[in-house]
Amino acid sequence: MGRNRKRMDAWKQGCSEKSTTPSCLHASRRPCLQSSILALLPSLPSPFRIRLSPLASRLSTLVLLTALLTIPVQGQDSDSTVTVGSKTFTENVLLGWMGTHLLRANGLAAPHRAELGGSRFLWEALVRGDIDAYPEYTGTLRQEILANRSIATSPDSLRAVLAAYGVGMTAPLGFNNTYALGMRADHADSLGIETIGDLREHPNLQLGFSNEFMDRSDGWPSLKRAYNLPQTARGVDHDIAYRGLNNGQLDVIDLYSTDAEIERYDLRVLEDTKEHFPAYEAIFLYRRDLRTRAPAAISALKRLEGQIPADTMQALNARSKIDQVDESTVAADFVNRTFGLATTADTNTRWERLRRYTADHLVLVGLSLGLAVLFGIPLGIIAAKRRILGPGILGIVGLIYTIPALALLAMMVPPLGLGRVPAVTALFLYSLLPIVWTTYTGLKDLSPPLLESAEALGLSPSAKLWRVEIPLAARSILAGVKIAIVINIGAATLGALIGAGGYGQPILTGIRRANLALILEGTVPAGLLTILALALFEGLERSLLPRSMRS
């Protein structure tokens, strides 16, 4: 936990902490989900310009209603809204909240999309305009994000490169959260170790480093060379490393210089006399178009410059991570104390949170399922009826399903950005398979004598389809929808990873904070929603199917 800052592929954990976060971040930059859905609706029934059987018409009404009801009714972002993002670890979330509170104290509308993802993800969201500002570290910019550009050591040259991306940077906020080596303070004292170089005299010390540190260019191999250290180190999970340090199995571990655990475990941070580790000065990045759109935002963020010394950051991290005080409160207390403000934290009661998660989750599930039914059933029908198109449709839909839900979600982000649009799209694609397949097999498995009876009556192909085949396959089709409901409600928890909110949000925060209560806050409602949705659906099934067709 808390080590993921430099993990570039770090999974996009995300959530929108404000219920006002719209599905379309900037209407001007991307077509809006709502309007595109609305544009789609009137054209839906037209391909089926035949008289529908009562079942078929009830079914299509249901689909339309589902789609209409689930269209989010939300306001639009105005240009003056400043959206703050933050990464998936406590310190960055705290900084994100500090910026957010200061922006709000300046009268700006500032939603905070906390825990959005890893560094690369936030950077791209910033450049694309999904977010307007987020806390970053100079080392991460130089070593990772802009690693392919050779940037001189001066802050100005970094600034110049950022400007080319339309990104501005504040001065350092006051602390350097770099890699460091740490030991238990009493142990270090007894051996007289104060600097990394002092380790040379104690070749028998046990060194345990996070796997990432073992690999990094500025990690263990180059550190060992720079200080000519005799020990061999082993790779250990970071949380386990702290425990190993505590029970004496390990003597030296890697850490971040502002880790909450430093104070908690009374650790000595060994001095890096050779300045081997690059500087990871905390700064705020912001879109330069704020200078015209919301100039007050930049000056608000700049108020943080130089205000957060390392020990302060360490204490704030500890309060949030170890004492489990939520980040918004810790950050609000800090800005109030530092700037004499009276901002209030974004804390909600469990019920308020639950209501928001539920609303978000229902939007994701309702929209994606509605679309999946809307497109899945016709696709299944075409697959069953058109010999040429059939294998192609089934193949593509099957192929989509082989993509892990997580990966599918990630693939939606480059073209569609963050938030509901990519999440709904991914969930829609993911829900297609069961519906298309059961529609296809339902139609293919109809008894030949019944089909011949329909034909012998002289029904036209479309009348045969709507009056006989689809009603006969209805149970199978509805079973597919039922499977899609179960899959979809579960998979929608992943939507939180790309800022779509929902029950996944408390689960992700809970995982980060190792807080079971938070995890259950998402898991239990998701389970209940599944049960409720199935019960409702079975009631609906009963009203749709004639009694002879019920199981």
């Binding site: 008289r51 079942l55 004598p449 019944l450 011949e452 009876s453 329909a454 034909e455 012998a456 009556l457 002289g458 029904l459 036209s460 009348a463 009056r467 006989v468 009603p471 006969l472 209805a474 199917l545 004639p546 009694r547 002879s548 067709m549």
Partner: protein, 247 residues
């Protein structure tokens, strides 16, 4: 009136119907009889266009069957199969009225026609509210007959309609069916492998063997003067069990 002209139908290498020409006169019952696989059901399916001949032509009411006119010609033909072929998602009434609804009949006209047919097939009217699987086998066949007769077709095709019924119900329904056929005066083609049933219904009987017509004419002639060894064997085979009892 139905005319088959040099009709051949193959399923892969197997010939189901072999160069069959026959004329099925109007307003009469013709029974197609023969062992399983003799091609009698295929002949029926050729007439209603569920399968297309590889050679030859089928003519119904003076119109040669083609892909374009088949649907309208089917409205002049009723088709009943062994297990009824009723749609399980529709009630008896729903099954009977399906086609009329599709053709846009008024509800009054539909109701009047269904009343007529209910009386004709002697089905208790309340049974029509039931779904097929809630009806007895005999009732299912009566509903199936109603469905076939709904549009008042000139031709009625029945493929072993009593084959799945137990003997008592079967006898009842046989009597009713013969009565209905006589009263309606339609062109009826009745497929069966049961020679007793054939004799019961048939003004005119055609014995099929291996996809071809072995012998046709009046039932009494067929029984008394079989013209081939096969015809003689076929008749003898069905007579044998009872002869054993008579001894």
């Amino acid at each position: 009136m139905i005319q088959l002209d040099a009709v051949t139908k193959r399923y892969g290498a197997e010939v189901a119907v072999r160069n069959v020409s026959m004329e099925l006169p109007g307003e009469r019952t013709t029974v197609l009889i023969g062992p399983s696989g003799s091609g009698k059901s295929t002949l029926l399916r050729l007439i209603i266009g569920l399968t297309q001949p590889d050679a030859g032509t089928v003519t119904v009411d003076g119109q040669q069957l083609t892909q374009t006119n088949i649907r309208s010609l089917r409205h002049r033909m009723g088709y009943v199969i062994q297990d009824g072929g009723l749609f399980p998602h529709l009630t008896g009434r729903g099954n009977v009225a399906l086609m009329a609804h599709h053709l846009g009949w008024t509800q009054d006209r539909i109701d009047a026609r269904i009343d007529e047919l209910t009386t004709l097939v002697q089905l208790p009217p309340d049974r029509l509210a039931q779904y097929p699987d809630e009806l007895s086998g005999g009732q299912q066949q009566r509903v199936s007959l109603m469905r076939a007769l709904m549009l008042d077709p000139s031709v009625l095709l029945l493929d072993e309609p009593l084959g799945a019924l137990d003997p008592m119900i079967r006898t009842d329904l046989q009597d009713d069916l013969r009565d209905i056929f006589r009263r309606l005066g339609k062109t009826v083609i009745f497929v069966t492998h049961d020679i007793g049933e054939a004799g019961f219904f048939g003004d005119h009987v055609a014995l099929l063997h291996d996809g071809a017509i072995e012998q046709q004419g009046r039932m009494a002639t067929l029984v008394r003067e079989p013209t081939s060894q096969f015809a003689a064997d076929f008749i003898q085979a069905q007579r044998a069990p009872l002869e054993h009892l008579e001894e």
